[in-house]
Symmetry: D3
Subunit: 255 residues, 6 copies
């Protein structure tokens, strides 16, 4: 069960109402990367995650994010309620839909659970959460760059901070499962193509990096020669530039 | 520009058409975790990612995923085209909407770009991609468990394999940026609360783990005493169980 | 701020897992009439409603609905977690998306904030809330009629009960504003057509009732004669069957 | 069957085209609270409502709302067609999508049937309709406050007026069923908790009102003591401030 | 303005209620190709189409489609209302959402105005209408193949018939504008590439037809040699198989 | 399989970045009439269209449209990346969501597969494609009218050109099936009402044209007299103005 306390997790104080900025803030109230997405994603995961400590962590963070949702809502309320009659030129959204927060993003699109990524496996869930935190952090940075007053900025820096905090927690949780740096998880072993890199986009300079270099990866320069389908059964690959050191790699990538 | 070759990346061969399974496969054609989501997400990222090698990697993988989309489409086509007149009892979807793939998930919901996670920063993008791959892998595992024939199963295992391959590549890419295990990224330094863990969900046993233990984290057992807002300015926290070793942590979490 | 307690508002106990019924229950977790809609609607209203006692009521009920969301989630979890491997024939949704609740309705459609009705005026909000409770009650009745075990049924009857309780509270709140039985609210006085009833659908027997009878209403039997536009300036209406007693009515309907 | 007459229900006359205001008007053409929502909601209800007089009323009002949809469309047409080439700075929407009305709201979001609230019971339907009318009235008030010319304003006041008229009719209809002021409806009797009020949001001053006072309601000040689950079987509630006069209340709230 | 008559355009008579088929019929009530899409598309076009006879035609057909929507709704009502208590096994949709039509498709997805195609030009609108009629006809054929009784089948054949009728009318209308067989319309002349066909998909046998043959079209067999960008200024194309007879073609394709 | 080449189909060169115009261009990247809609629609059709030459044409054009999607994306990238820090006043979208293209339209609405029209029959598919090309052409014209620089304009004229080219191809393809000017297709013969025109919208002058004139069509001036249902069995129609020459017409319209 949830209990509400009539105080914010961290107080917010907008210095001067700014309808336009209030509208931008909807990104983190009813937008894809916002606090509603985060809190509902972690909350719904907590039901199917059976590992008790991780379940507890998900509930702790989900509940904190509900408090953050309230903080963002209060920022929007303060940016919109101080003004007298709202002119649509200043903010079409608050003039037509009413002041205060709404579960819309800053373009008026309704929040949808299609933003949520979860289901079936705790590693998948934790990786989804790191991605959600990254999106949230990115949007907070964008908002801070546009923030018109110090009070808004300070609150947004705190909210950005907590996304980093949660990222650190989710990374530790993945690490505790051995899945922060190991690509493999789940119950189905991969086939022999797991360490092939297909150079599907060519012309100009083909760039290389640790993500397509030996010994971890086997680079197929021209997938049309040495067609991907040819390499499937693990036979030698004509168009491949490098000798394939399969055994060592498979143990790294496939467990 | 894209060029299409009339051969699949890896050939697929369904042994016996199964309309119901064909419908399930739509999850990976027009569903949230499917190949369309992956290919469009990496493709759209490739425009704003300025790091040339990473841009090339995104295009390589995006293009491979388009080939995977085609493979899943062909699986669906083979599962649905072999049968004579489709009875709605066998598959409401193919009976009413026509045979072959559609950009719908297995419940008939239209694909939406709300599934895509991208924008503004390459670290955010790569983290989003690892999450997308995790979702895709999870759905492939679910489908493999339901697969009615060996041909479908083999194709799905290959597609699952490549999600792990891509995860490995994205992890290497993040590692090359120093961001695989570092929670921090971007241009805004966090505030003093970055290493606090708030125990927002209580009653019963509060579980602990590396994600809320010293020295990395500072555990606030009761956020109502030692209110989160009180800890904001960095003062001592009455309800905290442990001494706060802030200096070392801040360097870890905040850079 | 919100605090979570690891106990349900009212314990739920499913006697025998039933995947299909678990899927039906999603209607009240991620569906249009479900607990998420209610809790978010009342919560978001609480920001712009300035009447302090009503704001408090909205927060009390919003928070209770979050607890109800958790109860429904736990019912779904119990209906899906007890079974061993889920066969897609039993539940396509849990087989492909994973066990436990998701923010989808029972047809797999993602929850959307388009379900929410709020904004700009407390009377509008409270009327919206009575409608939301009516929808929720209706769906609970449908679910109770399909419930396979006494434990589920008992929990659902409780949840249905609370929708009636909230309706009673919202009715009292509207009554305290004088708006439970008065159609008028807001700041714009209506024009002279406020008590006309246009019989736009004809043929067969035109039914009459208190909603189109004098003295409250003035019935225009044939809007093509005595065109609605003709009656606009308040002149006599040729096609009208009854004498118009405007003065008394206007005071009732227009304030 | 429907017949169309090439005249408006009430003529509209825009004095000076205003592209921006034309865009705002889309709220009531293709927006959540607009005339399409109302007309389709009442029309679809008319199929399953078996009470003949109420079915007739629903068809009368649904058809009138179609006429209102046409009036709003004509206002938009007049605001957009008079101007010569539309510059996107004046209205991004009409410049890119063409002049005249579209089934979009003023932010370009496509109308969705998720806005509709109906099904299964006439009381639920009528309550939904009062809520829809309240939303429509509220948006008309917002638009009137922004209206640039008297012709638009006069038309909008008429449309606002008719929402009040319909509210009055729906209230009479609910009253005829005895459901305007009675919270209970349907076929499932509530359990013993029907008149409890849970004070789920605390700190600061807890406000009280007729919605949580005896004799109608029983106030549980601290749901953590006297847990809601404890009160379920109807036993005495330690944390409750007041003696519970259950018998009289149950008759009021439960029928 | 619209007037409703309480009789169907063409009476429908379901012989035996069939809940499952009732659910399928939702495709044409609240689905993408259904009567709501058609009627609203033509109605909204009627505002911006300035050609008076075409505007009248759009209103005639839009209004007929509203009558068809009512017929489909009545078919659904008859398929669902005859049965006693609906078991969810028979129809999850009617058991959980109530009997009769809803603005959902047969998979429970809410109707969206994203299905509508219109705007800015009458040729575009009429082409969109022919496409909408084609989709509607296709779905009616699918439904007729599943129809369980002669009464339903007869009604559906009539509705399918009228889609063909409307197609014939829209074709005549396009023909009257000279745009049924002329690809060009609008105010911007095309550039020199208008009659090039790029063979973007190769391997296997490249099929040819009148859509990529001279004299109307100029076939570029390998867009990588004779790159499309090279042909842009109208110079000779190395990879082209045929001599380019530009002058005659341009007059055909470009006006 | 798809192969990507790191060069555009036709190079694009924006002369001066313009954030606002970059946002407008999203209409053709992530909007209803954009290149993603076209490429995915033709690609998904290619699976179920069994006519090999038409399947090849669909793949050729789908692949070209993917190249066009990339061109539009590059235009957006060039309009947004040249500028230094984006101020939200210049473009709310790029300031909050990041520079470069996104799968959103210019109003921030996420792309949805509800824009796609396909399924079950090649004639339906080709008609849908002509409509899609018409919508795309129309939007390109709107964008060209707003284009701030010659480089953008030239690229957009090329993209508009190719929509006309594709229209020409689809028209030839339909013609090769005999379905460009014949309204009928599919397997269900229409009933006797196929050539009736119902004058559903009256008052004012009823306009006539080739779409409701003999000998092809039979005009029913007043559907209330000579009710549509009366004409169904093919009997004489009292309200009809003209003698019905059914036999010749049926052969034209029904095949």
């Amino acid at each position: 069960m949830f209990i509400h306390k009539k105080e914010l997790l961290v107080p917010v104080k907008v210095e001067a109402p700014n309808l336009r900025f209030g509208q931008y803030l909807l990104e983190q109230f009813g937008g894809a990367t916002g606090e509603l997405t985060a809190s509902l994603q972690y909350f719904v995961q907590s039901f199917h995650v059976t590992n008790a400590p991780l379940k507890d962590m998900l509930l702790d963070i989900a509940t904190e994010e509900m408090g953050h949702l309230e903080m963002v809502g209060m920022l929007i309320e303060q940016h919109t309620s101080g003004a007298s009659k709202v002119k649509a030129e200043e903010s079409q959204l608050f003039a037509l839909r009413g002041r205060g927060p709404h579960f819309l993003d800053s373009f008026g699109s309704a929040w949808t659970a299609s933003y949520i990524n979860e289901g079936g496996d705790v590693t998948r869930d934790l990786r989804a959460n790191i991605a959600s935190e990254a999106g949230a952090r990115q949007t907070y940075e964008s908002l801070i760059l546009q923030a018109p007053d110090e009070g808004s900025k300070k609150a947004l820096v705190h909210l950005l901070t907590r996304e980093i905090s949660h990222t650190a927690m989710f990374m530790e949780a993945l690490q505790s499962l051995g899945k922060l740096t190991d690509p493999y998880f789940g119950n189905i072993p991969p086939d022999d193509t797991v360490n092939i890199y297909f150079n599907m986009s060519s012309n100009g300079k083909d760039e290389r990096g640790p993500w397509n270099s030996e010994p971890k990866f086997r680079y197929v320069a021209d997938p049309l020669k040495g067609r991907p389908s040819d390499v499937h059964p693990g036979v030698s690959v004509p168009g491949s530039e490098e000798v394939f050191e399969s055994d060592k790699q498979h143990s790294v990538l496939r467990r």
